[in-house]
Symmetry: D2
Subunit: 441 residues, 4 copies
């Protein structure tokens, strides 16, 4: 239910309802039916759709070639605390109208950072209190919190990986406050996206030392939160580049290796963003499979990139095939561990109507819902799963099984090779698999 | 010294000598002076330059749009064993004339694979014996051997990651023979480049199961070789894509994580190829730094890619700046662990003169030698090293040092942040660093 | 109807029928219904689906990392003329079973090139005669012919742009024969894809001179064919890179500019390949729109690339959204001028079942058919077209119309600006447009 | 000579002098010796180095992930006219200290745009007067002016290609004022970089209509300026993407074709930016060669991109090999037509020392100077030019010459092919060419 503050920000737009795929109402869900059960859970439970505070309530459409185009009512107050409360009102109104259950934030999305650390802390406490009330009134929950340790100029050379210990300490202080806020708001998880943790030039960088600092920093953050009683997951959100030429958390495999290196693999999981996956030359589904294989499939940042524009475009998800293939892996992996599907996406700079952000979230939710329905049907009704399983059946018994169990030596394989003689080729049937997917879309 | 067989293949070309940078002789080294000492070692020791048997003696300039253009005398014999011996003669003549000390091979570079496994084994034994003699006569050594488990159609769905246990076994048998040949030739190392270990489509692939198979397979190969008394290093050579859409050994970070996952990190190190690094959106120097940080900087495959052509072009190294930056990291890391610099590079399809392959190797060796000289001068004579070290000096004492030692908590950082107040910005001086590099080139 | 030769090559596979989207028969069309009328024409007429002789009957799955995996019955004859006839038999059997009307070829797809020019000419005449009979018997037509002036080593430095006049002349002779064969077979069009027309290194290249040669060469080819009575279109097929680092016919805009430069724009149109479009960082639909704007939308090479593997993967089309957007532009442009939709696509190297090539073509045809149906519905039933037209309505009357007619000066605009004052922002509604497309898929 | 205003902004930094390559002074030129004659002209004349007002005096290091880090004294005044004058003072001080002769600007680089068109016009007139005086006092000249028709939200859907005639008119008014300012300041050229002329989504775009509008708009701008007596060149600066998904002026070939389409080729030339070239998958040298071939090599925007970060990083030039190859083409083309070498480059976000921008320009100027010296030496002293010329010598006489003169038919080529028989392969010698370049660096 949409909770309004003292004014309604999205006038003329009511709660978005599911109307089915034959509806021509642009302000209705065509596939996302929250209570519909698919593969044993409601869509609501599968996805835990979340709004990204930064894009939806803070972003204004600016880009490197011009300032923002989207001017919001909730930014009008000159007092930063009032402005923050207005923004929270708008946020809870929007989330309620969308019918979603979750939001995610960076500390200084909630309220503008002040000119001193002490004052910033005060502001955060104030707005946290206010949002606590909004949460209670609305039932909306916090999927995860995080700290923005990359926008402020002080972090221009990194935060946890800054060559200057004082800057690292400042980041530490800020993360403490963000953890406090997340815990105060019953956040289910806490995310680290390595904003400027990486390098612009390797020439001036001691990468080994910086990585050790980052590991140490995360250990300290984890220990602090656990000591305060935080039971949620920590997530790392990989990204290969931008803003830094090279970001340390390049992709899931890199982040998983890093977490294990520093003994963090029990507490941390991966938050996979579609556009970050594709910037790393992986697919979304590849990253999901990689995290799932490691038992670390934590959460998803739903969006899409433009394969031809080499930066993080953070467009709303609308790629039906990509999302269907992702949902196949998602369902096989048993879903997410603690996280949800957060729309880390922004409307285009020239989308300046108030309704545009609703349309965008509707399109995104429908893309995921449709993909889930399709993937479920492929798994339950088509030859797909069986075809795939049979490809590996030689490992389900006999010597193949022994191999998997570690019972064979290289010389055993040599003997098998000698006995077998030349082998028949077995088609990979890729075109058949692809046709099956498209048949069900 | 160049050892000839019964005929001279590279007539008219003698041993390549160092003549210095003022020489206009295209068939002389201008920077590579094998016995010149740089940073405590001769260039010969630093680099251990190696010829890649496959490109230099097997490749004929074919590409997906046409067959080979380079027709070699040593391929004329119709008997495969004679042809293999002729090729070995040509190889040792070439290596000797270049004045290099090493070569690298895949099993079926040495001799054409036969139509049966048993016959292939016999051929390998025969050619290994022959090359043993050439080695003894010339003093040329084997940097590393490997098995080509990707060209034969039987491996079209992978070798160690093939969904069919019989194909995996065949690969196991082949790797056994390649290990035997490598050991017979006193190979200093053994390489795994994951030819078709990866997937063309995730739709028909069980990635988790395939990765487990690959881990198991490497464990068995290591155990076999160690049992036979092999003391050298195993290397994994990462590559992100091609031939498969996704290769499992994507980059150094991924391979290092994989090796640790399967308990292989003591025996394996990384063999970094320049063009594979850049295809993975890393720089050569980044990959060196990553492997060095993990204590796994094993060997280098020297070549270069074309940043604008998204496949492995394997051109000869000629990028002065890229190689200089790499040599900076190389020197700081203390060089390679067991490996050397192997020219995994091929002349262009339209380079059809016999001298072209000499020119190419000369250009490559000079690029590395010049880069080493420049990097050494930058480290010993310029402000570079000092500037870089000072950036991190706040961690060399006081609380910064305590942080590195794991003695601080997040709350300690919070207190530092409170006390510090707002911080001055410290320039990263990237342009200064870059100017210094160029000043010394 | 499928015409068999003396034997049936694709045994067990009959003619592929339309069975509709609820069919689970992998060997049936689900969307492609040849006689179904969409937007005033049958699907058969819209598409003129064509088989690419090279991929489907010559390609064997080889790649830079291994030889072919697909072994064909029709390649078994040792006599090149018999092998060519067998291949033609297989081709016409396949085309007939697919129910398509067209094929395309390169000269030496039809028959293996001989060791002399004279003998090659004889072979071409022989096979042309044979195919003429197959055409007559089957009703299958020739969409276009072309000459392969890139595979033979003699063309390693280019054909029409070779620095050596003798090689250029040889290409000229070959093109004459290919034109003769195309005309003998009533080819409706003739294509130039600039195989190795470009450069590997600009260092050894006089680009200006090479471009002039290419222009002159095309002028001569056109003049010859017209003099022989050829009434069809000439097409240029752009591609940005591969095999050469830079191909001269980079994209449609470049090719159109080139054609105009050399006075060829009346006789030539553009043949757009999907994967070439995306390698050039354009979309398929962008290239269609570019050619259509110039009145040069000639023909389409249907396939798809992998956005993450930077070479021409030539996969079969299966991207529903990409093709739908392309069909929107296609329908608005009034379709193709003279050409058709040629499946310039190959099954994956590991697709080794005889049925795989049928499955692949079925998937491709269904993707285009479904996209056409969807695009037609979007145009006729949704708000799409109207929304798009209204965005430009200010140019349909008043000063906007005067501007388009060239009746205003810059000072007139200045006055309008002065009078208007500040303007309201008008949303581009991208998310709404995208949602509409997905609603109709 | 550096002209100061009422205060000195770059205190402690004097005029940058040439000290030669053995100097360790970071604030001295090591290669750029303005009065040194190379290939018949002084370096000063060859390059006409220019400062980009926007990056050097307006940019503050902001990026999509955080606001500016560089805080400038000259931005402190609250009155926009005073601030603009202070910035002009700083600019002329900087240009003078660098010893450069030129600058380039966008209209609203010079002074902040006001809230109304009329007030903006007044501001522009005021600052133009002020700069006129600075120019007179310093001797610094205006290489080119341009209008920023992309930052203001009103241009979010394009300027000349906006779907709304009112926005197009506003752009027209703005371009008139920018032309007036350029002419008032004796600008030698005027540039159009198509900021948001392109599309974010083809779905909502009528590309043909937009291109016609852009052509019409440029015709009107040219006619206006010519009528006012402007004798300089107009330039188009191509860029393939960013900010729009697709920019209409994709690359030089596209822009040249566009200019000819609308009859603009006599008045317009091309301004090539390095980073725009590489984003379009071309090299800098390719774009220079393309423009030179069309007789349209107008001007250069000197910078460099990061081949691995797919956006316009606008780093300062430091790539020695890339620039050397570019200077080879530059010298062969006879240099620039009317333009110069403008440093369209910005220091990194974390380069926050006042000296950094000097270091950056010094590094850039030295890179070009060194490249020019090297290229000249290659042309005059090495085998390079002769090797390249001889590759084409078969077209300098006999039938090759007849071919170039258009005297042969396709049948003539056919006869040559018949007579020639099979041809010898001629090596392209790419590795030799590359080695020669590196020998001279
Ligand atoms: Co994200
Ligand atoms: Co993102
Ligand atoms: Co390699
Ligand atoms: Co390679
Ligand atoms: Co094609
Ligand atoms: Co293709
Ligand atoms: Co520029
Ligand atoms: Co730029």
């Amino acid at each position: 239910m949409a909770i309004l503050g003292y004014k309604e920000y999205f006038k003329g737009i009511g709660e978005i309802k599911f109307e089915g795929k034959d509806s021509d109402n642009p302000l209705a869900f065509k596939y996302y039916n929250p209570e519909q059960v698919v593969a044993g859970k409601t869509m609501r439970e599968h996805f835990k759709f979340s709004i990204a505070y930064w894009h939806t309530f803070c972003g204004q459409g600016g880009d490197p070639f011009g300032p923002g185009t989207q001017s919001f009512e909730w930014d009008k107050a000159s007092d930063p605390i009032q402005a923050a409360k207005d923004k929270a009102d708008a946020a809870f109104e929007f989330i309620g109208k969308m019918g979603f259950d979750y939001f995610c934030f960076h500390d200084y999305d909630l309220i503008q950072e002040a000119s001193t650390f002490a004052e910033s802390e005060k502001r955060l406490v104030t707005i946290t209190e206010y949002i606590k009330e909004k949460k209670a009134a609305s039932g909306v929950k916090l999927l995860w919190g995080t700290a923005n340790c990359f926008s402020n100029p002080r972090y221009m050379n990194g935060a946890a990986t800054n060559p200057d210990f004082d800057v690292l300490s400042r980041a530490g202080g800020q993360v403490k406050l963000a953890l406090d806020a997340t815990m105060a708001l019953d956040g289910e998880n806490y995310v680290f996206w390595g904003g400027r943790e990486g390098y612009m030039s390797l020439l001036n960088t001691d990468m080994g030392r910086e990585l050790d600092h980052m590991g140490q920093f995360l250990v300290m953050a984890r220990d602090y939160a656990r000591a305060q009683g935080f039971k949620g997951n920590f997530f790392i959100e990989p990204k290969p580049m931008e803003p830094m030429k090279h970001q340390y958390d390049f992709d899931s495999a890199t982040a998983i290796g890093f977490l294990k290196e520093y003994g963090l693999e029990k507490d941390f999981k991966i938050n996979i963003e579609v556009n970050h996956a594709t910037l790393a030359q992986h697919t979304f589904q590849h990253e999901i499979a990689t995290a799932a294989k490691a038992g670390m499939l934590g959460s998803l940042d739903a969006n899409r990139g433009d394969y031809q524009n080499g930066w993080d475009t953070d467009q709303f998800p609308n790629n039906i095939q990509e999302t269907t293939e992702a949902m196949l892996v998602f369902l096989k992996a048993g879903g997410l561990q603690g996280g949800g599907v957060n729309f880390d996406a922004k409307i285009r700079r020239n989308s300046t109507d108030m309704e545009d952000v609703f349309l965008a979230h509707i399109g995104g939710a429908d893309t995921f819902a449709r993909a889930l329905l399709t993937a479920d049907k492929i798994i339950t009704s088509s030859a797909y799963d069986d075809l795939r399983t049979k490809r590996y059946s030689s490992f389900d018994a006999g010597k193949g099984k022994d191999f998997e169990a570690g019972k064979l030596t290289l010389e055993d394989l040599y003997k098998v090779a000698q006995e077998n003689g030349e082998l028949e080729l077995k088609s990979g049937k890729q075109e058949l698999f692809e046709n099956i997917i498209n048949q069900y879309i």
